[in-house]
C-alpha cells in the first residue's frame, strides 16, 4: 500500500485506527474467562495471576509509557493492601469500597512521592524509588500495632460481594470479582493510552527533551501518571487482601518490586498487554516448575528469562506481535 493512496477520510480517523479493538484482544479477554470453564482447579492461581497482572500493568503505565523506571512500585501495592486490610480489621469489610480505600490511600501517598520521582531519571531514580520503598516497608514493620508487623495483619475479613456472593474456598467468586476489576482497570488504562494524555506520556518516553521544546509540562504529566499508577497498584494490593484475607510485609517488599519488574519486562514493556501476559507466563511457569521441582525451580525460571531475552528482545507480547506480522504478510 503506498502512502499516496491515503483515503479522503478525516485525519483524526488515522489516529482512531490504533485505538480500535483487535480480534486478538477480544480473544485474549475471552480466554481469560477460560479457567472457570475448563480449569476450575486453577481458579486461585488464575486470580493471583490477574492481580499480579494488574500490578504489572500499573507499573507499565509509568515505565512503558512514561519511561519512569521504578524499583519501588510494591510500596503502593502494599499500601493499598494494608489500607484495605486495616479498614477490614476495623470493621469495614465491604469489598468494592475496600478497593477504593486501598487505591485512594496508595494514590495519596503516590501523589506525595510523585514530587520527588518526577525530578529524577536513570540510576538515581531507580535507587530513590527503591529507597522510598524500603522506608515504607520499614515503617510498616515498625508500626506493629497497626500492621501486625512481621506476623502479618490479623483479623481481615471480607464481606460477601454485593451482600450475596460469599468468597468461597474454591475461589469462584474471587475469580470473577478479580477478573471484573482487572478488566475495568484495563479498560481505564487502554482508554488512557489512547487519550491525549497517553500520547503525551509516549512523547516523554520517546524524547523528553523534545517534549520540553514543544512546551510540555513533563513533570506534571509524570506526576499524574505516577498517581494513577499508584492508585491502580493500590487497587491490586487491595484485591489481594480481600481475596486472601491476609496482608503481610512481603506485599511491600523490594522482592515484590523486583518480581513485578521482571514479569513486566518478560511480557513486554509499553505494549498494554505486557504486564498481564508476563505475570501469567511467569507465575504459571513458576507454579508448574515448582510442582515438579520445588527446590530448584529457580533454575528453570532463570533459563526462561534468558531465553526470552535471547530470542524475544521486546518481551513475549513484542515477539507475538512480530510473529503476527510475519503470519499476516505470509497470509496475504
Amino acid at each position: 500500500m503506498s502512502d499516496a493512496s491515503v483515503p479522503a477520510k478525516p485525519p483524526a480517523e488515522f489516529l482512531a485506527d490504533g485505538a480500535r479493538w483487535r480480534w486478538a484482544e477480544i480473544a485474549f479477554w475471552l480466554a481469560a474467562t477460560l479457567p472457570y470453564f475448563v480449569a476450575q482447579d486453577y481458579l486461585q492461581l488464575a486470580g493471583q495471576v490477574l492481580i499480579t497482572g494488574l500490578f504489572a500493568m500499573s507499573l507499565d503505565l509509568i515505565l512503558g509509557y512514561a519511561g519512569v523506571v521504578s524499583l519501588g512500585h510494591a510500596a503502593f501495592f502494599g499500601l493499598g493492601a494494608y489500607a484495605c486490610g486495616v479498614a477490614s480489621k476495623w470493621g469495614w469489610g465491604e469489598p468494592i469500597t475496600g478497593l477504593l480505600i486501598g487505591g485512594a490511600f496508595a494514590g495519596i501517598v503516590g501523589y506525595g512521592a510523585s514530587f520527588i520521582v518526577s525530578r529524577f531519571k536513570g540510576l538515581a531514580l531507580i535507587m530513590i524509588t527503591l529507597g522510598l520503598n524500603q522506608l515504607v516497608a520499614e515503617a510498616a514493620n515498625s508500626a506493629h500495632g497497626l500492621t501486625g508487623g512481621a506476623d502479618g495483619l490479623q483479623g481481615v475479613h471480607t464481606w460477601d460481594l454485593l451482600g450475596y456472593f460469599h468468597f468461597d474456598l474454591y475461589g469462584v467468586t474471587a475469580f470473577w470479582y478479580i477478573l471484573a476489576v482487572v478488566f475495568a482497570c484495563f479498560l481505564l488504562t487502554r482508554r488512557m493510552v489512547h487519550s491525549p494524555f497517553g500520547l503525551a506520556l509516549r512523547g516523554i518516553r520517546e524524547n523528553s527533551t523534545r517534549m520540553v521544546a514543544i512546551g510540555a509540562a513533563n513533570r506534571a504529566h509524570i506526576r499524574k501518571a505516577f498517581v494513577i499508577a499508584a492508585f491502580m497498584a493500590g487497587v491490586a494490593g487491595a484485591l489481594l487482601t480481600e481475596t486472601t484475607e491476609t496482608v503481610s510485609l512481603e506485599t511491600l517488599s523490594f522482592q515484590r518490586s523486583a518480581d513485578v519488574l521482571v514479569m513486566l519486562i518478560l511480557g513486554g514493556v509499553g505494549q498494554l498487554y505486557g504486564g498481564v501476559v508476563g505475570a501469567a507466563i511467569y507465575m504459571v511457569a513458576r507454579d508448574r516448575f515448582s510442582d515438579v521441582n520445588p527446590q530448584y525451580w529457580y533454575f528453570w525460571i532463570g533459563l526462561l528469562l534468558i531465553a526470552v531475552v535471547v530470542f524475544l528482545p521486546n518481551g513475549i507480547v513484542g515477539g507475538l506481535k512480530k510473529l503476527g506480522g510475519y503470519l499476516g504478510r505470509a497470509g496475504r
Partner: protein, 392 residues
C-alpha cells in the same frame, strides 16, 4: 454460595471416606524450599521424609502420598493459595509444614473452612493454633522456650541482663516472654535493643550491649545467617562468655552456627526443645539414620518435621485411616509419644506440645562442639495460652 461450597466440601469428604481403603491419604507439605528460609523448609521436609522412610508409606491400610509445594518466603497469600489448591485441586487431606508464622496463619483459615487436619511443624507464634480447631503443632512456641529460659536465668544467679532481639514479631514475643518471667523471678533488665531484621553485621550492637556491663546478654534471632554473624561479633568485641553469659534460643547455637563460630561459641547458653546430642537410645538412632540419609545433623526444624509425621501417622492409626479433620484432631488431642527429644504430649486444650525445655551450654567434647544439656525445665506449656485461659 456459602451453602454450595460447604456442601461440595462435605460431599468430597463423604466420597473420600467411602472409598478410603483404595485411595491414598494426601499430605500437602507446604514449606519454603527456596528463598531466604530455604534451609528451614528443607530440614523440615528431611525430618518428615525420614519418618516416612523408617515407617513405610502405608498406615492403617492407606498409602501416604505427599505433595510438596514451595511457599518461597514470607508470603501468606501464596501459602493460602497453595493450601486452597491442595484441598481443591489435589483433593488433599492433611495440610502440613509451615516454617513461618504469617504463612501458617493464612493456611489456618483454609484448614478451618475446609475442616482439614493441619500440622504446623515449625512456625512458633503462640496464636497460630487458635486459627483453626483442626490444627496441631509439633514444634514449640517462642514464649514457651524463652519464658522457661527467663525463669531459669533468674533462679541461677544472673542478676542483670541486656536484651538484644530481632525487630519483628517473633523477636518481640520472645523478649516479652523472657523479660516477664525473668523480672517476675527477680532479675533486672539493664538495657534493651532491637536490631533490624536484615542486619548482617552485629559488632556495633554487641559493643553497645557489652558497654552496659550486664551479667548476661540475652539474644534472640531467627535462624539463617545471623547466629554466625552474632557469634563472630561476640568474639571480635571480646565478650568473654565465662564472665558475661550469652543466653538465647536454640537457633543461636544451631548446627551451622556452631560450625562457623568454632570455639567462639563455647559457653553460649541456650534453651531448646531438641538437640542432636540429646542422650537417649531413640535419639541416637534418629541421628544416625538422619546422617546416613542427608549427610548432615538433624536440627530443631528436622525434629519438627519428624514429629509432625509421627503425629500424622499415630492419628491415622487411631482413626483407622479416616482422614477427615474432625476425626484426626480428636485422635491427636492428648496423644503422647516418645520422640527423639523426649516424651511429648499434644495438649488437648491448646493442641500445642507440652514438653521439656532443655538448658544447654556449648562445650567442647572430644574436640567437637556440642550443645551439652546441663539443666532442664519439665512439662512446659505455652505461657501465652495459659494466660489467655486465665483471663477468661
Amino acid at each position: 454460595m456459602k451453602g454450595i461450597s460447604i456442601a461440595m466440601a462435605g460431599a468430597a469428604a463423604l466420597a473420600a471416606s467411602a472409598a478410603f481403603a483404595q485411595t491414598p491419604v494426601k499430605v500437602g507439605m507446604i514449606v519454603d524450599y527456596t528463598g531466604q528460609f530455604a534451609d528451614t523448609g528443607n530440614q523440615i521436609d528431611n525430618g518428615y521424609k525420614l519418618y516416612v522412610k523408617q515407617h513405610g508409606d502405608t498406615v492403617a491400610g492407606r498409602k501416604i502420598e505427599t505433595i510438596r509445594k514451595d511457599n518461597g518466603g514470607m508470603q501468606p497469600d501464596v501459602a493460602k493459595r497453595l493450601s486452597q489448591e491442595f484441598v481443591v485441586r489435589d483433593k488433599g487431606d492433611i495440610i502440613a509444614g509451615f516454617d513461618l508464622t504469617p504463612n501458617a496463619l493464612a493456611a489456618g483459615d483454609v484448614s478451618a473452612e475446609a475442616k482439614k487436619f493441619m500440622v504446623v511443624m515449625n512456625a512458633a507464634t503462640s496464636i497460630i493454633t487458635t486459627k483453626s480447631p483442626y490444627m496441631t503443632r509439633t514444634s514449640s512456641t517462642t514464649p514457651q522456650l524463652n519464658g522457661a529460659l527467663g525463669t531459669w536465668a533468674a533462679k541461677n544467679g544472673i542478676k542483670k541482663v541486656y536484651t538484644l532481639v530481632s525487630d519483628y514479631g517473633p523477636g518481640l514475643d520472645a523478649v516479652a516472654a523472657f523479660t516477664e518471667n525473668y523480672t517476675a523471678a527477680g532479675g533486672a533488665i539493664v538495657g534493651a535493643a532491637k536490631f533490624p531484621v536484615a542486619t548482617l553485621d552485629f559488632s556495633a550492637f554487641i559493643q553497645a550491649a557489652k558497654d552496659s556491663n550486664p551479667d548476661a546478654i540475652y539474644i534472640w534471632t531467627p535462624g539463617g545467617t545471623q547466629p554466625a554473624a552474632i557469634g563472630k561479633a561476640l568474639a571480635e568485641r571480646g565478650v568473654d562468655t565465662s564472665k558475661v553469659k550469652i543466653l538465647g534460643q536454640d537457633e543461636l547455637t544451631g548446627v551451622s552456627a556452631i560450625a562457623s563460630m568454632g570455639d567462639l561459641s563455647i559457653g553460649i547458653i541456650t534453651a531448646a526443645m531438641y538437640d542432636f546430642s540429646h542422650k537417649s537410645p531413640m535419639n541416637e538412632k534418629f541421628v544416625k539414620d538422619f546422617q546416613d540419609e542427608y549427610k548432615r545433623m538433624p536440627d530443631i526444624f528436622a525434629i519438627g518435621g519428624y514429629d509432625g509425621a509421627t503425629a500424622i501417622y499415630k492419628a491415622l492409626e487411631k482413626t483407622g485411616g479416616k482422614a477427615d479433620g474432625e476425626s484426626l484432631i480428636a485422635a491427636a488431642k492428648g496423644m503422647t509419644w516418645e520422640s527423639p527429644r523426649g516424651t511429648i504430649l499434644i495438649d488437648p486444650e491448646t493442641r500445642d506440645i507440652v514438653q521439656t525445655v532443655y538448658i544447654r551450654r556449648v562445650t567442647k567434647v572430644d574436640g567437637k562442639l556440642i550443645n551439652v544439656e546441663f539443666d532442664k525445665v519439665d512439662n512446659v506449656k505455652d505461657p501465652v495460652k495459659e494466660k489467655m485461659k486465665a483471663a477468661k
